[in-house]
């Protein structure tokens, strides 16, 4: 397998070890945070959807990691909908061993992202990752923005969140010094 793929698989397994019963949305967004906030070179190509930054290759990698026995996944039902719970499995050491140097090099990054974002549910992770995506786009275009303008743009994309709630999440990211163009 290619280096980049083994690095991704090892990362997903490490995330599942550090934070058991992760949902698929959580894996997707934590990978986004790792790549965007910690510059972990996972090689994903995240683009924006109404559910936040997304790359279908994360789902493919989850499937491959599961086949290799590095993680196990089960579907969980709740009132009105469903989700997934992903945990490390019996071959987790084998999968991490495929990219042991990578895991060693980025273990602290993975720990940091899990600590900062592991406590959030999938709805908040979608919102937080969308805020960061919009912030990075503004930064790349060299445009400065106020909290209010950022909240307004995010609300256009995710109109079901009210503005004060979005602003509180922006303030959290500011406190954590994770927004760039402020």
């Amino acid at each position: 397998m290619s280096d980049i793929l083994t690095a991704r698989l090892a990362t997903i397994v490490t995330l599942a070890e550090k934070q058991p019963r992760l949902g698929r949305t959580a894996v997707m967004k934590l990978c986004y945070f790792l790549q965007t906030l910690r510059n972990v070179p996972l090689g994903y190509r995240f683009t924006l959807y109404s559910y936040g930054p997304f790359d279908v290759r994360v789902l493919s990698d989850i499937s491959v990691a599961e086949t290799l026995g590095g993680i196990e996944s089960k579907t969980v039902m709740y009132s009105g909908g469903y989700g997934y719970e992903i945990s490390a499995a019996s071959k987790s050491e084998f999968v991490k061993g495929l990219a042991s140097n990578f895991v060693r090099r980025h273990s602290a990054d993975i720990g940091q992202v899990v600590q900062q974002f592991g406590k959030f549910g999938s709805a908040d992770l979608e919102l937080l990752s969308t805020i960061i995506y919009v912030d990075r786009e503004y930064a790349q275009a060299g445009r400065r923005q106020t909290t209010d303008a950022l909240a307004e743009k995010v609300q256009e994309i995710k109109p079901h969140f009210n503005k004060p709630y979005i602003q509180r999440k922006i303030e959290y990211l500011e406190r954590e010094r994770l927004l760039r163009n402020r």
């Binding site: 070179p41 109404s50 039902m77 909908g81 743009k153």
Partner: protein, 427 residues
């Protein structure tokens, strides 16, 4: 007599019958940047395996526009109230985004390199771990080469969007705002792109693997209301259409194994990359910026084939001309376990320098796994369940992680001896 800007035109399509376009869309289609798609084959050298695979990105792009519009209209018809309540759409907003989706669907592939996905590895690097993708080129073509046609037509004044909005919807930029909801129709799990190419490729190739009930599927796609874990409406399938969705997923799987990842087709992709590395200045395409974009658009299949015919393609060009392609010597199972990976490692060690290429299904642009389409039921109370809960076939599907090893045909016997001597079962 003045030209009627509201006139409609029909283009005959082997899959959809007639595809209707208006004068504005016709103007865009007539631009050289779009006409270039007539010279880019949908499936690269697949015709060397399936002789019928001669269709182009041009007809596929028209088909995606047609299918996306069909999907859009069906969703609005079934889920209009939800879109109005949760995304604050009104009639004008829905009309605006319908046109936007049509143009994004029409132009989503306008930035393809020659031979479609086969030469994408030759796109330059954007960052250290990421290459530009054809979508980056499509967006750049829309912003530059097609801006005049998109913004200059008299009908564009009614549309309420600019070329930039079309580019942003394809790229997945934040500026798309509310319209980002419709990106799933352009590039998603049940997008118009996939629905069109599976059926179109099957039609031209003469296989039935990619066929599914398109009409049933389209009329089953709905916007699913938000719930506590999914705070935003999303696209899914009405319960009555789950078999059609199951057939779509199976069609992807079958087309992948029988066509897109066919061992000989993959061998020709290797040779094409070898040719392109040799004939492109610096061994890569130019970036989608300024003069680089114009230079990129000068490349199409015809130019590459002409250079190969003139003998400028080097060893790989000769192999294409003489049909002397690399031969697959070994393959793992479609879904690789850790034992299969260990065996692969042993085989590679045994074959050593005889292995000239290693191709991985995971690197393919086409994906096969079970990404679990949400199914919406209204029986008793609204409930969303994954397709894998309905279909045991889908529940058992995994991402294809097959690895293929290739050797030069001249050393095939030697490679076979090495594998057989060690008791390896040749796959």
């Amino acid at each position: 007599m003045a030209k009627d800007p509201h006139r409609k035109y029909e283009i005959r399509c082997p899959v959809h019958g007639f595809i209707q376009i208006d004068d504005w869309e016709r103007e865009i289609i007539e631009q050289p940047a779009f006409q270039r798609l007539r010279r880019i084959r949908q499936l690269a050298w697949t015709d060397l395996v399936y002789p019928g695979a001669m269709h182009t990105r041009f007809e596929h792009s028209l088909g995606v526009m047609h299918t996306a519009t069909w999907l859009y209209d069906s969703i609005v018809s079934k889920s209009g109230d939800l879109l109005k309540q949760e995304l604050a759409y009104d009639h004008q907003g829905l009309e605006r985004d319908r046109r936007l989706v049509r143009l994004a669907a029409l132009l989503h592939d306008v930035g393809h390199a020659p031979f479609s996905h086969a030469s994408e590895e030759l796109l330059p690097r954007k960052r250290s771990t990421e290459r530009f993708a054809h979508e980056d080129y499509s967006a750049a073509v829309i912003r530059n080469e097609l801006r005049g046609a998109i913004e200059g037509h008299v009908l564009s004044a009614n549309a309420g969007f600019k070329a930039e909005d079309v580019a942003v919807l394809i790229e997945g930029g934040a500026a798309a705002g509310r319209a980002v909801f419709w990106r799933d129709l352009i590039t998603g799990q049940m997008d118009a792109d996939r629905m069109d190419y599976l059926i179109r490729d099957s039609h031209h190739i003469g296989v039935h693997y990619g066929r599914f009930d398109l009409r049933r599927l389209i009329f089953s796609v709905v916007a699913i209301p938000a719930d506590k874990e999914n705070p935003h409406p999303r696209l899914g399938i009405e319960e009555g259409g789950w078999h059609a969705a199951e057939a779509l997923v199976l069609a992807r799987y079958l087309m992948f194994t029988q066509v897109y990842f066919h061992k000989t087709r993959v061998a020709y992709d290797i040779h094409l990359r070898g040719v392109m590395k040799r004939i492109l200045p610096g061994g890569a395409f130019t970036k989608p910026e300024g003069a680089g974009l114009k230079e990129f658009l000068r490349w199409d299949d015809w130019r590459v084939m002409g250079l190969i015919r003139m003998g400028k393609g080097g060893e790989h060009g000769r192999r294409i001309l003489e049909r002397n392609y690399y031969r697959r010597i070994y393959h793992t199972p479609e879904v690789c376990s850790h034992k299969d990976m260990l065996e692969l490692k042993k085989v590679k060690t045994r074959l050593g320098r005889l292995v000239v290429a290693e191709e991985k299904a995971t690197k393919s642009w086409y994906k096969t796994g079970n990404t679990d389409i949400p199914v919406f039921s209204r029986v008793r109370k609204p409930q969303v369940q994954p397709l894998s809960r309905y279909s045991k076939v889908i529940a058992g599907m995994k991402e294809n992680s097959q690895v293929l090893l290739y050797v030069d045909p001249a050393s095939r016997e030697e490679a076979e001896r090495k594998l057989n001597k060690k008791g390896n079962q040749l796959r």
